[in-house]
Amino acid sequence: MNFLHQFASKLLQGAIPPTTSGGHAPNEPSDNELVSKAQAGDTAAFDQLVTRHRGKVYAMVMNMIHNDADAWDLAQEIFLKAWRALPKFENRAKFSTWIFRITHNAVYDYKRKSRIHSDGELDDEHLSGERIDPGARTRPSQYDRPDQALEKSELGQRINHALEQLSTDHREVILLREVQGMEYKEIASAADCSLGTVMSRLFHARKKLQSLLSHEKPS
């Protein structure tokens, strides 16, 4: 059974392209080509799109909601929504911007539901890892792997703590601009707001984040 397990693992790893930051090799089909195939019902093409973009979507969701277990499910839900909405996607636009728009909607829905269930205040109990069935096979462990825990530097912890204190709108625009490197127009499209609003939010978010980080600095 061991060699079968190893063989199957190697087969699957071989079928999945190496981790990228969303780009693709020149000989690989473009996002638009894959989208066209997926729109015709080709789930293998959609699977490639998922593989290509899941890293960025998962990173964005994690940074927005700070809950590893829910982030996994939410990221899957985002791609499922993308599949359902594919007929409406105009293939002239960038798929990555479009998937971030779906991410925006999903994250805001998630936060709204969290607020409703906690009667206006964010109830940490709902986000507690202890409520998750440890035997649930669809969810990864909510505990950091030892190597992950070590990797989180002090600066990283301060930044994450500061980001948590920003409003959802400000946090989103900071992550889309400073981390994802998106242009203003792309951010406006993803966040469903005007260019002016993007730049105004960015202005205030940067100021607020600067202030928070300077207060968090160890003496």
Partner: protein, 201 residues
Amino acid sequence: MKNHPDEILITRWIDDDLTGAELEQMNAWVAEHPELLEEKQAIRAMQAELRSELPRSVEPEHPVSFNAGILAAIEQENLARPAAATSTPASPAEPEKVISIWRYLRVPAIAAGMTVAFLAGSKINQPESAGSELADAQPAAKAPVPLTFYTPDSDVAAHYQKTKEATVVVIDGLEEIPRDSNIVQYHAGPKPDAIMAKNSQ
């Protein structure tokens, strides 16, 4: 520039997005207010820290399961939809041509349906006997059932991925079989050769 630049202009200036006349005007303002340069440098330093500490892309744990879960959900949705629309995401309604044909076939179709239902009901009540033609008949085609997993042991997890050639199921968490084990020893009962020799007697 006589008036204080607005936040949009400052944001664009910090991001080096200004050109031409706007850039000249902003530079003139900064020359009179050098503290803005310090602000810009501070924000640039913060941007560098954000990029270094917050990864742009994070692969979800168990990426194969991640994709497999999405594809399984898509397949379930396809199965739940009417047969005519299963291969694509939600597609528009069928053309009206079928309706006019149905108008003429309605009465004969109802009569045929009643006959089939009567025959099916009478067949269901007949017990099947071993060796009958029914027992030798091909099994009725069944609707595909979504692949699901059950493991009584919470330490064991399973996931699958479909490729063009096959569906590969991966099971994690099983105990390793020692390499020096003789697999044949795990078989219960007599060896196949012994069974064949017995049947031929």
